[in-house]
Amino acid sequence: MKWRMTLFGLSLPLAAGALAMMIAGGAVAQDKTVTVVLSEEPDIVDPCESSRSNIGRIVKQNITETLTEIDPKDGSITPRLATAWEQVDELTWRFTLREGVKFHDGSDFNAENAVIAINRTLNPNQDCEVRLKFFGNIKLMPAAVDTYTLEVKTETPQPILPTLMGTMTITGPKTQEAKGTQNPVGTGPYKFVSWTPGQEVVLERFDGYWGDKPEAEGARYIWRNESAVRAAMVATGEADIAPNIALQDATDPKMDFSYFNSETSRLRIDLTRAPLDDIRVRQALNYAIDREAMRGTIFSKDVVPSTNLVVPSISGHNPDLKVWPYDPAKAKELLAAAKADGVPVDNEITILGRLGIYPNATEAMEATHAMLQEAGFNVKLQMVEVNQWVDIFTRPYAEDRGPVLQQAQHDNNSGDAVFTVFFKYGCEGPQSTICDKEIDRLIAEASAATGDKRRELWQALFRRLHEDIVPDVMMFHMVGYTRINPRLDFTPSLSTNSELQISQIKFN
């Protein structure tokens, strides 16, 4: 009994100072295996789900590789399993494949096997997330021209097909047809050893890898739900990397690194419901939010107030747009003007938050709620779990809905704004609440364009959104925190949100 008393009474101050007192790496295993602690157990280790972050961190570019690789810094495309590519005509792309690459099971990597892998991922009878997320409206017809030349035909012009191919990993030809393989085989620097459900996933270095031999001999993935526990595990040396810890657990600058995680947070405004259908009300909403007060408190000090729904590294981001200043007086003025014109500004607006959508999501909404109230809005706050949130967020929308500001976060790490705009702002977009002819025209034109033209069209689109429509209360380009044991030499980057290349890790 007594020890518990002690724990209750004494542990508090101790716990408070615990992390400050921590010295890194108590009993670090001096082997060359990297232990990664994820936030959740992967449901599955099938490469066709590698767009989900905790699966991607295990599989993508470690076990299975992509034809092309997207550079997270600027969205540019670099070779991986394909060494070169060219557009033959509007509907055809041709990829030259790397020679001398072998799968872990000994099969050769060639055009024929690449076709098998692409067809597996895009099999319409499977719910592979890579297909549903990136190839939903696109039909690919791959064919082997010769051993190392792959031709991909499409029904509609796909100017950014090489970027798209950066999202799809190539599995071995003997992988079972149906989704849900327990034994992923690829060409990557690490091969899959075992998955003990509930316990760990183990990878080991693949000696037949085509590229440079990585330093780490293997990788072990474990998972803990609690951010504080993940952070503690790295601190005690039980793990080397915790890719995703909460802001308040990132207390040690020697171990904790922030990185832009390609997410952008916002409140989606439902433009179809009064009083949100009035642009002055929407502007007032944006003026009423004190973003600077939230930065460094509820949000990390490293977040950047946003103007575009895509991060600056994405092609099409418009850097010239102005961040909404905090101006409650202006907000009140706009509201009064709207009211004078008969806009029912007193209608109750619901702030619909989603629990855990990002760290401190609830507090962010509570703060927003308080700020909007301060500015004279009649708002109420409701936090819901994912399923309900998605129901409300996506079409078809309920007929009897009221005016809603919905907490949302968008992740585009695929290099191009096309992965964002149609879905969020097109007339037919599954999560769009606006229908603007100009926007739809820009989407159509930009989708078919390439290069600078494409980028300028996207920028024009974002300007129209930001200045003429105001469909969102823009918040921040977000950061994530990764805790890294000092024995590793590794810096997280924009892509750490979706992959974690063990081969890039060096030891100090």
Binding site: L12, P13, A15, A16, A18, L19, S227, A228, A231, A246, Q248, D249, T251, A293, M294, T297, I298, L355, G356, P359, N360, T362, E363, M365, E366, A367, H369, A370, M371, L381, Q382, M383, V384, E385, N387, Q388
Partner: protein
Amino acid sequence: MGAERNTAAVPTAAPRSGARVVLGLLWSDKFAFVAALFLIFVVSCAVFGPLLLGGTATSMNLRLRNFPPFTLDHGWLFVLGADSLGRSMLARLMVASQNTIAVAAAAVAFAMTVGGVLGLMAGFLGGWFGNIVMRLADIIMSFPSLLIAVVVLYMFEPRVANLVLVLGITRMPIYMRTSRAEVLEIRERPFVAAARVMGASSFRVVFRHVAPTVLPTLTTIAALDFAFVMLAESALSFLGIGIQPPEITWGLMVAQGRNYLNVAWWLAFFPGLAIMLTTLSLNLLSSWLRIAADPTQRWRLEIPRGRDG
């Protein structure tokens, strides 16, 4: 008649005024006395807190985010520190007591009433009805309460009333079982038989004779259940299907504070302490009540201090 005097061990003390007796008995159990004071304080917070401090509890000041406790630098309201949005912990605790107590009391009362009545009827009527009630208790007990919560709160709004319903349903089986077991014993007692000989209906027997006898046992369980309900409410809040901000309960405060355990321990500690002290007080008081209400045990409170025992 004279010969009968003093034959029973029950002395017939001169009647003192009721309130004085109760206070005297309470005073003789110092733990219970303190518990009673604390509960009075909590209840007054629940009644008056939102009126007095409702605004303070929700007024945000991000500069005071996670302001540490035990200093008066920002006035007495911040003596217990501030939460992650810089709101006064003290004010929030006092305001939250209303929802907390209301939810817990309503859920426990619901479980006790519905579960108790079902158990009474099951015990008294027996047969197929009794069987159904007992199977229902089995089912609820092995039914994950979270699923009930998700069902109710998905289908209806996450309102306080629905939360009470969910928590109430999940706590019902213990009352069903206990009251049934007690009824099986009580209905064999002669005073029940006497009532039936008089021609009393089953309804009368159950509610006039059996129910009042079962009640003290159920009340004791209810005191313990208070803690479970408050903690369960906390767990539901954490999973996103309980009370949601801007409403506050202690459970929600604990759930929210858990993210800050290593930087601002007071966020979860004080509401947790409040839950703990409240249940502790309820239990101390209920065990005192059990003794004080039982004439054969009451002497325990009457022994002068310093004596053995």
